[in-house]
């Protein structure tokens, strides 16, 4: 479901609309209230057809006649005003920034902890129906992009091969960044830095005409939003992770979104595909070094595997995820992307190992021949 991209002007208008609505109510002596879809786990559905988490239709109301929601209503107005002001001068805000802003506004608005001010931001997201990045509340930046990808930032246009360093550093807020040109057949999003850097060093993106992205563990919101933009452009996306129960979650997070952000549909990339490491790779890829590359599952890994079983997305895709997850519970083993190195005798062998794997998997999972 493509998310409409809002301009700053449209966002400012939406913020002012909330102000006007409350003003209207107050000037008529009415009780101001704001309705929104209920932000609770019980109202989060996993749409098996759309393959995404979504917020259900259950409604919640923040109303000025209840002691319990009066603080939230006031804080929402405060956040809206702060966002307006900061957006107008192009100033971003972190959640922590906002925590301090709310702390200092008025004793009545004092949040008891950051979770409370974070919650106001979540409420603003669902009320205004946009992500917090839209109003400049950004997460930490994490992750890189490399390949023949041309991005248009508000102040410049940039090609991701021309950035130097580790590639284009994906900022916390990518809301106002557009993909201008895309000269790649697919984008491979990689969990770990080592293999991402090796591929850059080997010139693989250029040779295969692919883009690569470095997630650095669980992808940041900026990266997830970025991947969505690739998805919206019809760019095939493959997700390459370690082989362990957590890595499944990284993949699912990109593809389906998360329960936490069920109210923001723009954070999932529905056409992204998981390309490994898969459990079948253990036998196919590492038959000779099987014993060497497998590491024992830790207790936390095992717990994660057991918890995975009940997650909604696990039930879809014809049992694929469940059987992948089952393997961890049965074998109590895992391995990592670094295991590719165990398949090489000499440094020059590594390129072939990578390329073969990527070609095979993009063909098989994305239907893209490189």
């Amino acid at each position: 479901m493509p998310q409409e991209t809002l301009t700053v002007q449209e966002v400012l208008k939406r913020l002012r609309q909330l102000g006007s609505r409350i003003n209207d109510a107050l000037s008529k002596g009415e009780i101001p209230s704001v309705a929104h879809r209920r932000l609770s786990k019980s109202n989060v559905k996993f749409d098996l057809d759309l393959h995404t988490y979504e917020l259900g239709d259950s409604q919640a109301e923040i109303s000025g006649d209840r002691k319990s929601s009066l603080k939230k209503l006031t804080a929402l107005a405060f956040l809206t005003r702060v966002s307006l002001e900061r957006l107008e001068i192009g100033l971003s805000t972190t959640k922590r920034d906002y925590y301090y802003l709310q702390k200092s506004r008025h004793p009545l608005l004092m949040p008891s902890n950051q979770a409370e001010s974070d919650d106001v931001i979540r409420v603003a997201e669902v009320v205004h129906e946009f992500s917090r990045e839209t109003i400049g509340v950004v997460a930490q930046s994490k992750g890189y992009l490399y390949g023949d990808i041309t991005l248009r930032e508000p102040k410049m246009t940039i090609n991701c091969t021309q950035t130097g360093g580790d590639g284009y550093s994906v900022p916390g807020n990518v809301e106002y960044i557009d993909i201008q040109e895309l000269d790649i057949k697919a984008l491979i999003a990689i969990e770990k830095e080592g293999i991402y850097r090796n591929l850059m060093e080997l010139g693989t993106p250029e040779k295969l005409r692919i883009g690569i992205a470095m997630l650095g563990g669980q992808p940041s919101r900026g990266m997830r939003r970025m991947l969505r933009k690739f998805s919206d452009r019809g760019c095939p996306i493959g997700i390459l992770t370690d082989l362990n129960p957590y890595s499944l979650r990284i993949a699912a997070n990109i593809i389906y979104g998360s329960i936490q952000s069920a109210h923001i549909s723009s954070l999932s990339a529905p056409n992204a595909k998981f390309i490994g490491l898969e459990t079948q790779d253990v036998e196919k890829l590492f038959p000779k070094v099987r014993r060497i590359v497998l590491e024992p599952l830790t207790e936390e890994d095992l717990k994660a595997a057991n918890d995975n079983v009940s997650l909604p997305y696990m039930q879809g895709d014809a049992g694929y995820w469940l059987s992948e997850n089952e393997w961890f519970i049965d074998n109590q083993k895992k391995t990592e992307l670094e295991a590719f190195n165990a398949l090489t005798k000499h440094a020059r062998d590594l390129e072939e190992v990578y390329v073969r794997y990527i070609r095979e998997k993009t063909e098989q999972k994305l239907g893209v021949s490189l």
Binding site: N23, S27, G29, E30, K67, L108
Partner: protein
């Protein structure tokens, strides 16, 4: 000793024995009657004088208007004390002028300067001076301690002049000795003024006694001008009501409360009843001829026996075993709910809550009584009063006169302290006593108040009185609970409003900035939310 010596001793004793007259009796027993301590003495004297004045106004159905002057003179005397060491006390000049009916000129000396034993054996009537020693005892006390005479001015309505008499009491003869006497111009139409000197000690307690007196007598106006320790002050207790209280009525005694000896004497001196049955029905309440005959039958006495041949013990026993009707109850001069409230309002002007409960009259041992209770809560005046009390503040009033002493022995206090005030929404201390700024009033009026002992100031525990007090206090408690709950609700509503107002203020500021409005109104919304409070 032989027979002759024994006879001689008896004869000597007989010579020494003289019939004691009331003046001599009081002379010897003044210390038992409230005059032992200088502070008590002054208070006791004031009580007697004021009682006298109130009685004088009541006789004429007059709204009392009393002017009291208390002045500490430079003289001092040393009072003997039982422990041997004398105590110094200042001499006070006390003058009380009332607007009562006055005393006819020729009767002035006798009514002030002659002590009379009470002759209230056969009649029952609610009266102030229950421990009654009367005004003459005060005159006597003054004379005994200061050796100075008393001056009286009195005027009867219609007379042009008042009679001024300066007198002392000849104790041995119990006769007034007029030292000076003349007719004078007096500004008042009628009334009496008595001026005398007394050793005593002035304290706050005296002023409070006067204030409490105004609760028992809301129709009284009392102006006090005092000069104590060189400082002059005025205090006026305005009357809280223009209504005269109902007048107390005389009633016949009831067989269930009379002593055998008294009954015997009444029968002995009776000379107009031919038979015992007619004697009983004539002199006792609720006894018809039929009931009298029934009692006598039960006492195994013939109904046509002469009264003088009464067997008092047997008659009373028979009467006790029979269910006699209660006496007529509407014979009491009570304060009244509205009057009590008005009086409290006078004393505790800023009290938040004033309530009074008047019980219907009832009787104990054939004696009508009526219980009234009241309370004043919160406010500076109440708080100040409560701060001075060691215990629960209970103003006790018996037959419209406040009881200044013996608090903890008194049923009027105990009944208040035995109520579970917690159940009525009051905060209570660990001991269960009210921990609130609250002044209680507990009043009893009765044809005869049962005091714990003569000369004492505590009401005895009598089941009927205890029950009536408890019922009255429970009703008062229920009304207090309604007030307390409403107050707490209003307080929490007011708090909620303040809470909402705070948020709406911030909200309006933010909305004004967002919409670029100069200001955003929110008062209307608060009014909608809080209606009455905000309106």
């Amino acid at each position: 000793m032989d027979i002759a010596q024994l006879r001689q001793a008896a004869e000597l004793e007989a010579q020494r024995m003289k019939e004691s007259n009331p003046a001599q009796y009081f002379e010897r027993n003044l210390h038992q009657l409230g005059f032992s301590e200088p502070e008590h003495a002054l208070l006791q004297a004031l009580k007697e004088m004021i009682d006298n004045s109130l009685d004088a106004t009541e006789l004429g159905s007059i709204l009392p208007d009393l002017h009291l002057e208390i002045e500490e003179t430079r003289d001092e005397i040393t009072l003997p004390s039982q422990t041997g060491k004398g105590r110094k006390a200042s001499i006070y000049r006390v003058k009380l002028a009332d607007n009562g009916v006055g005393i006819v000129p020729e009767k002035v000396p006798n009514s002030i300067g002659k002590l009379l034993f009470g002759s209230k054996l056969t009649v029952l009537k609610q009266a102030r001076g229950q421990q009654g020693i009367g005004i003459s005892a005060v005159v006597l006390y003054s004379q005994l301690t200061t050796l100075r005479p008393t001056t009286v001015i009195s005027k009867v309505a219609g007379n042009e002049r008042g009679r001024r008499v300066t007198l002392r009491i000849d104790v041995d003869r119990n006769e007034p000795v007029v030292m000076e006497q003349e007719d004078v111009f007096w500004n008042n139409d009628h009334g009496t003024a008595i001026e005398l000197l007394l050793p005593g000690r002035y304290s706050e307690r005296i002023e409070w006694h006067l204030k409490e007196l105004s609760i028992g007598n809301p129709h009284m106006r009392l102006a006090l001008s005092k000069r104590v320790g060189g400082e002059a002050n005025e205090m006026v207790l305005e009357r809280a009501t223009e209504h005269l209280p109902p007048r107390a009525k005389e009633i016949k005694p009831h067989l269930s409360s009379i002593d055998a000896g008294v009954l015997h004497r009444m029968a002995e001196v009776d000379d107009d009843c031919r038979t015992l049955a007619s004697f009983l029905s004539k002199h006792f309440a609720t006894i018809s001829g039929k009931t009298a005959r029934k009692i006598l039958r039960s006492a195994k006495l013939p109904p046509n026996l002469k009264p003088q041949s009464i067997k008092a013990g047997r008659v009373l026993e028979a009467a006790r075993n029979m269910k006699l009707r209660r006496p007529k109850l509407d014979v009491l001069s009570f304060i009244g709910e509205e009057e009590l409230k008005a009086a409290l309002k006078n004393l505790f002007a800023d009290a938040e809550f004033i309530e009074a409960v008047s019980r219907p009259p009832w009787s104990y041992q054939g004696i009508p009584f009526k219980i009234e209770v009241a309370v004043a809560m919160s406010g500076q005046a109440v708080a100040t009063y409560c701060a001075q009390q060691k215990r629960t503040a209970v103003i006790r009033i018996a037959n419209r006169v406040p009881l200044p002493y013996d608090l903890s022995d008194c049923e009027l206090y105990r009944a208040v302290s035995e109520i579970e005030w917690r159940n009525y929404g009051l905060n209570v201390s660990e001991k269960g006593t009210p921990d609130e700024d609250a002044v209680f009033v507990a009043s009893i009026v009765a044809s005869k108040v049962p005091f714990t002992s003569p000369g004492k100031f505590a009401v005895a525990r009598v089941p009927e009185i205890h029950d009536e007090l408890t019922l009255a206090l429970q009703e008062l408690g229920r009304r207090m609970r309604i007030h307390i709950q409403r107050k707490r609700r209003e307080e929490s509503e007011a708090k909620r409003l303040e809470y909402f107002r705070g948020y709406y203020q911030v909200l309006a500021e933010e909305i004004a900035t967002i919409t670029r409005a100069e200001s955003v109104r929110y008062e209307e919304t608060l009014r909608r939310l809080f209606g009455r409070l905000e309106g």
